[in-house]
C-alpha cells in the first residue's frame, strides 16, 4: 500500500500545483488580450448569419452578447474611453438573436445616441435600433418612449419626438404620460420640466443599473442648470438695480429675497465669482451640467456609485 | 516456501442506491498454497472465487487483510513479473492479431526484446494456436480466445499462475489440452491456483482443493484425503445377467444394468467374490474401490452450511 500512498501524494500535489499555475497563466493571458470575446464581433459582418449559425440556441447566445455589451460599455466607460465602436454591433447582434430583449433597446437609447464620452455618438443607429424593436414588439409602449427620447435628447427633433410619443400612447396599456409628453413637445420642448419628466420616466421604467445611474446624473445636472439659470437671472436683476455686481452670495440672497443660501444637490453652496458668474463648487460631480461650470472646463464623466 | 499466503483477506461492498447496505463478498479468508502444487478453488457461481482472485491481482482493494505471493507483499509490483493471470471469459483488443497482442504483453512483462518473438511463437505452439498469423482477435472463436488468454498468462514464464475458470468455452479436446498443460506446468515446478465449478476437472488435476460458498471457506484438504474411501467397500462388475448364489451369500448388493451386473461388497471379501465368478465362468469386467466423490463432499459441505445458516437465521 505504500506505493499507492506515494503515487497519490505526488498526483495530488501535481494537481494542485498545476491548477495554481494554470489559473495564474490564465490571468496573464487575459491581460494580453483584453476584450478578446469581442473579436468575433469585428469579424461577423452579418448578424443574420450568426442567428442561423446558432442552431436554435439564439436565446442563450443573445444573453451572452447582451452581457458582453454591458461589460464592454461599463469597462470602457470606467476607463474614460472616448469611443465605443463595438456597442452598436453588439446591440444589433443581441437584438437580432432575440428581438424581444427589451432592455437591449433601452440600453441603446441611453448609450448609443449620446456623444462620447458618455455614449457611442451614433443617434441614427440608435433610431434604427428603436424602429427595429418597435417592428418586432409593436405593443410595447416603452420602445416608443425610447424612440422619442432619442429624438428629443440627442437630435433635438421635437416634432419626431412628439410623433413617437403619440404613436406610443395609442398602444393598449400605454403609460398615460406618453400622451402628456406628446403634448409637451409641441409647446414646452425646451423646458427644464420636460427634460426632467423624461429623465424621471427613464429612471422609473428601467431596471438596468447603468441606465438608472445615468438618468440620476442627468436629473442632478438639470437641477444645477435650473438653479444656475435662476441665480444668474438674479445677478442680472441685481446689476440692473444697483449698477454693480454683488460682492457675495449672501448679499445677493438678501437683496433679491431668495429663500436661504442656495445649495446644489450635494448640499454645497453655489459660488459667486468676482466677475459675477454663478458656479458649482465641484464641477466634476455634475458631469452633464451645462451651466455653472468655470470657463474652459472640460467634464470628466464618472458615475456615482456605479459598479464597473 | 509457500507460493501464496492469504492472510485474512476480506471484501465488503456497499450496495444500494440511496441507503448503502454492506454486502460481504468475502469473509476473512485464510489459505496457503505450497509451491509446485495445483490448487483448486471450488465453489458455485457467485461464491467469491473471482473476488478472491481480483483481490490477489490488486484489481480490487480489500476491506481488511493481506496476502503474500512468493514471500512478498501482494501489492509489490515486482511480484507481478512472477505471476500470470487468466481472467474469466477474457476479451482482448479487437483489432490486434494474436502475435501483436502477445508481443505487447511480453513488452509489459519485461521480456527482453531479443527473446520476444521466439517466446510468442513457442507459447502459441504450446496452446495449440500455431496458424493465426495476421488474423485479428475479433475473428477468434471463444475457444481460441481462451487459448490466447492462457498464452498471455504463461508467456513470461511466471512461477505462479492464477486461472479463473480456465476450461470455460472449451470443447472436450480443448479441455483435455488445458489439463495436460496444467500438468506440464506442475512438472516444470510452477504453482497453479485455479478456480472452477467443474468438480471432475478439480478431482483429476488438483493436489489440494478449497471449497468456498457465499464468501466463506467451507472446506480444505488434499483431494486424496477428501475422497478416500471410509467404508472399505469395493465395486465388482461382471458380464452377463446372472447373479451367482455364492455372491448373494456374501451379502452383495447387486444391480443388473444392460448386460452387466454391478455389486458392492466388503473389501475383505473381494477374493471370495472373484473365486465365485471364476467357478461360474462369469467374465470379470472391473474391480474398483468405492470412493466418495468430490462432488458428494462438495454437496455435503454446501448443505451443511445452508442448514447452519438456516438454524442461525
Amino acid at each position: 500500500m505504500k506505493q499507492r500512498r506515494k503515487v497519490s501524494l505526488i498526483a495530488g500535489l501535481c494537481a494542485l500545483f498545476s491548477l495554481a499555475a494554470s489559473a495564474l497563466l490564465l490571468h496573464r493571458i487575459d491581460q494580453l488580450r483584453p476584450q478578446s470575446t469581442l473579436e468575433d464581433v469585428l469579424y461577423i459582418s452579418s448578424p443574420k448569419l450568426l442567428k442561423r449559425a446558432s442552431l436554435g440556441y439564439d436565446g442563450l447566445l443573445a444573453d451572452i452578447y447582451w452581457t458582453r455589451a454591458v461589460q464592454y460599455f461599463g469597462f470602457r466607460h470606467h476607463n474614460h474611453a472616448d469611443s465605443y465602436n463595438l456597442l452598436a454591433p453588439l446591440l444589433e447582434m443581441t437584438t437580432q438573436l432575440d428581438p424581444h430583449l427589451i432592455v437591449a433597446y433601452e440600453f441603446g437609447a441611453s448609450f448609443l445616441a449620446p456623444p462620447p464620452p458618455s455614449g457611442a455618438g451614433e443617434p441614427e443607429r440608435a433610431i434604427q435600433l428603436m424602429e427595429y424593436g418597435i417592428r418586432n414588439n409593436p405593443d410595447n409602449w416603452r420602445l416608443y418612449y425610447d424612440l422619442g427620447f432619442v429624438y428629443y435628447m440627442n437630435l433635438q427633433d421635437y416634432r419626431k419626438a412628439a410623433d413617437a410619443f403619440e404613436r406610443g400612447s395609442k398602444v393598449p396599456n400605454a403609460h398615460p404620460f406618453l400622451r402628456l409628453l406628446a403634448a409637451q413637445m409641441a409647446e414646452h420642448a425646451g423646458d427644464f420640466n420636460t427634460a426632467r419628466m423624461l429623465w424621471s420616466a427613464t429612471y422609473q421604467n428601467s431596471q438596468d443599473k447603468q441606465i438608472r445611474a445615468n438618468a440620476v446624473e442627468h436629473l442632478r445636472a438639470l437641477r444645477v442648470d435650473e438653479d444656475v439659470t435662476h441665480l444668474q437671472q438674479a445677478v442680472t436683476r441685481f446689476g440692473e438695480r444697483t449698477g454693480r455686481l454683488p460682492t457675495s452670495m449672501s448679499e445677493l440672497v438678501a437683496a433679491e429675497g431668495l429663500p436661504g443660501t442656495p445649495v446644489d444637490p450635494d448640499q454645497h453652496p453655489y459660488k459667486l465669482t468676482p466677475e459675477g458668474r454663478v458656479e458649482v463648487r465641484v464641477p466634476d460631480d455634475f458631469p452633464f451640467a451645462t451651466k455653472g461650470l468655470p470657463p474652459g472646463y472640460t467634464p470628466q464623466p464618472k458615475f456615482h456609485g456605479e459598479q464597473p | 516456501m509457500n507460493a501464496i499466503e492469504i492472510l485474512g483477506l476480506e471484501k465488503t461492498y456497499l450496495v444500494g442506491f440511496w441507503a448503502k447496505r454492506p454486502k460481504r463478498a468475502l469473509h476473512p479468508l485464510h489459505l496457503n498454497v505450497e509451491e509446485g502444487e495445483i490448487f483448486g478453488f471450488l465453489g458455485p457461481n457467485g461464491a467469491g472465487k473471482t473476488t478472491t482472485l481480483k483481490l490477489l491481482m490488486g484489481l480490487v482493494f480489500p476491506s481488511a487483510g493481506s496476502a503474500r505471493i512468493l514471500g512478498r507483499d501482494w501489492t509489490d509490483p515486482e511480484v507481478k513479473a512472477q505471476i500470470g493471470f487468466l481472467p474469466e471469459q477474457p476479451y482482448f483488443y479487437d483489432h490486434l492479431t494474436a502475435h501483436e497482442l502477445l508481443n505487447y504483453y511480453a513488452q509489459l512483462s519485461g521480456v527482453p526484446a531479443k527473446e520476444r518473438s521466439r517466446r510468442v511463437e513457442s507459447t502459441l505452439q504450446r496452446v495449440a494456436l500455431p496458424d493465426v498469423k495476421g488474423v485479428q482477435l475479433r475473428k477468434f472463436s471463444k475457444g481460441m480466445l481462451q487459448r490466447v488468454g492462457i498464452a498471455q498468462a504463461i508467456l513470461h514464464e511466471p512461477r505462479v499462475l492464477f486461472f479463473d475458470e480456465p476450461m470455460s468455452g472449451l470443447d472436450p479436446i480443448g479441455r483435455r489440452e488445458v489439463r495436460d498443460l496444467m500438468e506440464q506446468l506442475k512438472h516444470e515446478g510452477k504453482t497453479v491456483f485455479f478456480s472452477t465449478h467443474i468438480l471432475s476437472d478439480a478431482e483429476a488435476l488438483c493436489d489440494r482443493v478449497a471449497i468456498i460458498h457465499q464468501g466463506e471457506l467451507r472446506g480444505i484438504g488434499a483431494v486424496e484425503d477428501l475422497t478416500s474411501s471410509v467404508q472399505g467397500k469395493v465395486e465388482i462388475v461382471w458380464q452377463g445377467t446372472q447373479v451367482p448364489a455364492s455372491m448373494k451369500a456374501l451379502g452383495a448388493d447387486c444391480h443388473v444394468t444392460g448386460d452387466t451386473v454391478r455389486a458392492v461388497i466388503d473389501e475383505r471379501q473381494q477374493d471370495a467374490a472373484i473365486d465365485a465368478l471364476r467357478r461360474e465362468r462369469l467374465r470379470l469386467i472391473a474391480l474398483t474401490p468405492v470412493r466418495t466423490s468430490l462432488e458428494a463432499y462438495f454437496v455435503e459441505k454446501l448443505q451443511r452450511a445452508e442448514t447452519t445458516a438456516g438454524s442461525t437465521a
Partner: protein, 258 residues
Amino acid sequence: MNARILHIASNTFREAVRDRLLYNLIAFAVLLSGAAILVGQISIDIEKLVVINLGLTAVSLFGIVIAIFIGIGLVSKEIEKRTLYTVLSRPVRRWEFIVGKYFGLAGTLVVNTFFMAIGVFAALFYVSHKFVRADALVLVALYFIVLEFLIICSLALLFSSFSSPLLSAVFAFSLFVIGSFAEDLRGFAAMTHGFTRWLVTGAAYLVPNFSAFNIVSSIAHEQPVAMQLVWHNTLYALFYAAMALSGAVLIFEYRNLK
C-alpha cells in the same frame, strides 16, 4: 518504467488506427475539397477566408469529437471489456497505464491533425494558387487547435477513470462547450457579489478556457499573433492537462475494478 509507458502509448495508437479511425480523414478531405471547389466558383476575395474558416473549424470539431469518443473509451471500455485485467496483472503501475493511454491518444490526434493540415494547405493552394507569408498563421492556428486537443484528451481520460462511457462523453462535451464561453463566465463572475462571486470565479478558472486558443477568425483576417501568447497558451495547456491527468491518476489509484 518509461518503456512500459511508451508501449502502452503505441498500443493505444495502434488500436485507434485499426479501429478505422483514420476514415474520418476521408470525410474531412471530401468536405474540404468540396468546399474549396464550390467556393472557387463564387466571387473572388473571400475564397481564402472561407477555406481557412471552414478548414480550421472542421479540424477543430472533428478532432474534439474523436478526442472525446476515443478518449472516453480508453479506460471505461477497457474496464467494461476486461482487457485491463490482463494488463494490470503485469508489472505495470496504474499511473503508468493512465499516462501511457494519454500519450497514445494525444499522439493519435497529432497525427490526425497533421494529415488534416496537409488537406487545409492543399485547399488553400487550390483557391489562391500561391502561398503568402500570412499563411504561416494557419500553422499557428493549427498549433493552438492541437493544444486544445491536449486539454480535451486529458479531460476525457479524467472522466473515463471513474465514470461510464456515456457519462464521460457527456461531461467532456459539456466542459468543451462551457470552456468555449469561459471568458464570458468570468465576466458574469465580475458582476456578482460575495459568495456567488467566489463560486463562479472559481468555476471559471477551473473550467478549461478555450477562448484564447480560438484565433481562427482573426488569422483569417491576417491579424498577427503575439509570440507571448503562443508561450502562454502552450504553458497553460500543459499545466491544465497535467492537472486533469493527475486527477485521473489519483482517482484510478483507488478505483476498485469490479
